[in-house]
Symmetry: C2
Subunit: 142 residues, 2 copies
């Protein structure tokens, strides 16, 4: 799996915390990755309306929504992100055996159900929940 979803959530949290326009370069430094990768992900979030982008001098990304009303499920959907599907598929459609020819499709369906289960779980988590965790970390138990 790619780190795209982590990057997107991290970016949104940083933006909503800063509450001003932030460039891909500043974001990339905070996230520990490169600006081009940040821009690719932020562009998708922009298309989904989760943030706005301004080109030109003093431009960058701006989060204007209500963190309490944006769920992680919305973020995942904005990215069209698949959490569980592996690249490798077992068997082969042209094989004679029903198991060998059928398993890949059946597993694809299983993974799509798992993705749905993940999204359903993420419907219950908002950016505000994550912000709380970031800024009120539980006391360390030492």
């Amino acid at each position: 799996m790619t780190g795209e979803f982590s990057l997107a959530v991290h970016g949104l949290i940083y933006l909503s915390h800063m509450d001003k326009t932030i460039s891909s370069e500043t974001l990339a430094k905070n996230i520990c990755t490169n600006p081009a990768r940040v821009r690719k992900v932020m562009a998708k979030l922009k298309k989904a309306g989760l943030l706005s982008a301004r080109e030109g001098a003093d431009g960058g990304y701006l989060f204007e929504g209500d963190p309490a009303r944006i769920t992680l499920a919305q973020v995942a959907r904005a990215l069209q992100f698949s959490f569980t599907a592996p690249a490798w598929r077992s068997g082969g459609v042209d094989m004679d055996c029903l198991v060998a020819s059928g398993m890949a499709d059946i597993m694809d369906q299983v993974y799509s159900e798992l993705d749905a289960a993940c999204l359903s779980r993420l419907e219950t988590v908002t950016l505000a929940d994550i912000l709380r965790q970031v800024f009120s970390p539980p006391p360390s138990n030492q």
Copy 2:
């Protein structure tokens, strides 16, 4: 994500269908992979008691359980398989910013909740369910 889980389910379905001892080589042909990879995965399933293995001539793997009583969650747990955790983590623990230093741990927790959601969904799917899908495929809609 690796294809380990797909491979394990495919193998178990094939074994339960054949109802006799099958070598890693035969399994590998059906799954379309190599015997060593099959043996690595089957060894884990054996340790979890999901099948038995016999070494020596005429050896191989044998499924003896009741497909209706084995869930895909048991299979995933036998492999200690993580469905969602990405390798890449954002930010860095030593950074000054609370967002940059805290996000990775928070996302790890999110992914662990997603894995739990996946397992919970897989509790409801048995090998017998998969066998039914393999051998009573829904009519194609052409």
